[in-house]
Symmetry: C2
Subunit: 357 residues, 2 copies
Amino acid sequence: MSKKILILPGDGIGPEIVAEAVKVLACLRDDFGLAVETEEALVGGAAYDAEGHPLPEATLAAAQAADAVLLGAVGGPKWEPLDISVRPEKGLLGLRSGLGLFANLRPAILYPQLAAASALKPEVVAGLDILIVRELTGGIYFGRPRGVETLDSGERKGINTLVYTESEIERICRVAFDLAMKRGKRVCSVDKANVLECTELWREVATRVGADYPDVELSHMYVDNAAMQLVRAPKQFDVMVTTNMFGDILSDCAAMLTGSIGMLPSASLNADGQGMYEPIHGSAPDIAGKGLANPLATILSVAMMLRYSLNEPAQAERIEQAVAAVLDQGLRTADIAGEGMETVGTAQMGDAVVAAL
Amino acid sequence: MSKKILILPGDGIGPEIVAEAVKVLACLRDDFGLAVETEEALVGGAAYDAEGHPLPEATLAAAQAADAVLLGAVGGPKWEPLDISVRPEKGLLGLRSGLGLFANLRPAILYPQLAAASALKPEVVAGLDILIVRELTGGIYFGRPRGVETLDSGERKGINTLVYTESEIERICRVAFDLAMKRGKRVCSVDKANVLECTELWREVATRVGADYPDVELSHMYVDNAAMQLVRAPKQFDVMVTTNMFGDILSDCAAMLTGSIGMLPSASLNADGQGMYEPIHGSAPDIAGKGLANPLATILSVAMMLRYSLNEPAQAERIEQAVAAVLDQGLRTADIAGEGMETVGTAQMGDAVVAAL
Ligand SMILES: CC(C)[C@H](C(=O)O)[C@@H](O)C(=O)O
Ligand SMILES: CC(C)[C@H](C(=O)O)[C@@H](O)C(=O)O
């Protein structure tokens, strides 16, 4: 039976980059026997403009019914002044929690063809291959009480709550250890256990889970030190596992070390293997509609989808090899072009990947 | 009347590096007419071992009575398994809140003599000069409720609370804008206003304070993007202002960009101009007692003290020029020595600075 993929183009460059990923999927279906059906729905600012809510019920229902979701990007300055309960990112957070996507996998890989784009010295980043496993449906993103209240003095006070239960910590740590078993067999758990009791519990649970994986080396690091070590010597890391908020910060930092954030995909998984796949970069409203955006992170997100939700590792490999081939051919969108290099647009890049499949 | 400085050597390399800073102070007093008196007290693990508490009452009282405090570093693995209420860092947090030190100033400066030590490409970091202003007595570090509770199910849950009032946000933003007026006249306020209501309030208050400083350009950035931009193009920043937790992470990241974390001082100020001064680096237990640590960050912390708490800018300048001179002479402790360079120890470096005053 063919697998159902829900396509959520979203805002800004979302529709353009997703269109190229859809071309890739169509080619795998038509020429390489991949049994998939796609359907499209609205999310983010686009949904807000059309239906008054960034996550329409029909979109969430379609996502829940799908085997996997491919998301472009959401949000943009146009929707910024909205109340937090309706702003586009709530669409994203609503999708994450509505699908129970607690495990966010964010690889930070340096493509050898693009090494020059990194702000770091070649010897510091050559061969970089980190996987950040970020908890995605808990922590301070979702904790209550939250909001702004007015004190008797008339002054206002803003509140958010960081909260994790043992079982929430345990399941995300298991994901990290399971992934580490297939990679470098090292997990670094990042917390701020010297200050935050909630992350002291995190450290304790990570240690307990680690005892079930004698072949994996577990280390613990404070988040401030982790931010430093990512800049100083990122190759010391294999898998990093951390909270929603720390993961947000560290994964962006790690991604930027590679200098090619336009290349990096991500996966968000739930307990049933359903997943949402999206590029790490945002909606880039400044270049939206111009046909300049790099579609490779979205195309590589399809590869992650094939691997993690559709159990099609060979098809995933096919995409990854096609991407490597177009890079070898010297094709570059503006974001990854070195000085003086010729650049191609979004559609040309997508077409080149399809041709290389 | 002579000014009172409380010296808190602390743990690990703390006593060694502070001893060199005290030599510098003594030289300024004896040879250059600086009217200061010093007194010493215990803090951190050293205090815990001697008196059962990382911040003895006598130490806090002496700090409150002093015009300024010079701190080496606190903590180390020896005290790690302790309950959070007595662990050494509580000594540090207790000092910060006990003295009302709400404004933490963390410069990230690239010393031209040490440019090669950075993990970043020279063109990305040459001339880097950022000042991070971190809120230090509020936010999730101090918010309540906090702790670990047991649910009816028997499972445990960890909680910490991020909380800021308008007045807390306003006073730290004013410090940032006042400092920006004396520098590049740009403030970047870092928050996560798209997710955390508490930092939505932060953004609103920062904007309001900014209206009082028409000559300063204010921008806002999400913390994940700020972590990326620090790696991609750090020279875009002048002054950054942010919460306690985000400031902890971003200031360490920014400091590491320079590659010479052993060089960077910090100041923590209260509303009365009293301040605590300390190197950005930690207690480095692995090299403690070996005479290898770099005392320059501590010596430069004395310069910050002279400028911000003792109103002696000319004496501060004297120290800064002496440090530049020893770097020009080629003196290097191991942490800042390039490949194949000869190194000096802690005391030799301190003596060289004194000789260059
Ligand atoms: C847009 C925002 C809500 C989101 C997050 O903070 O999780 C983004 O930064 C990300 O990392 O996917
Ligand atoms: C030791 C620790 C409590 C402290 C902090 O988190 O504030 C340190 O990391 C710092 O930045 O001074």
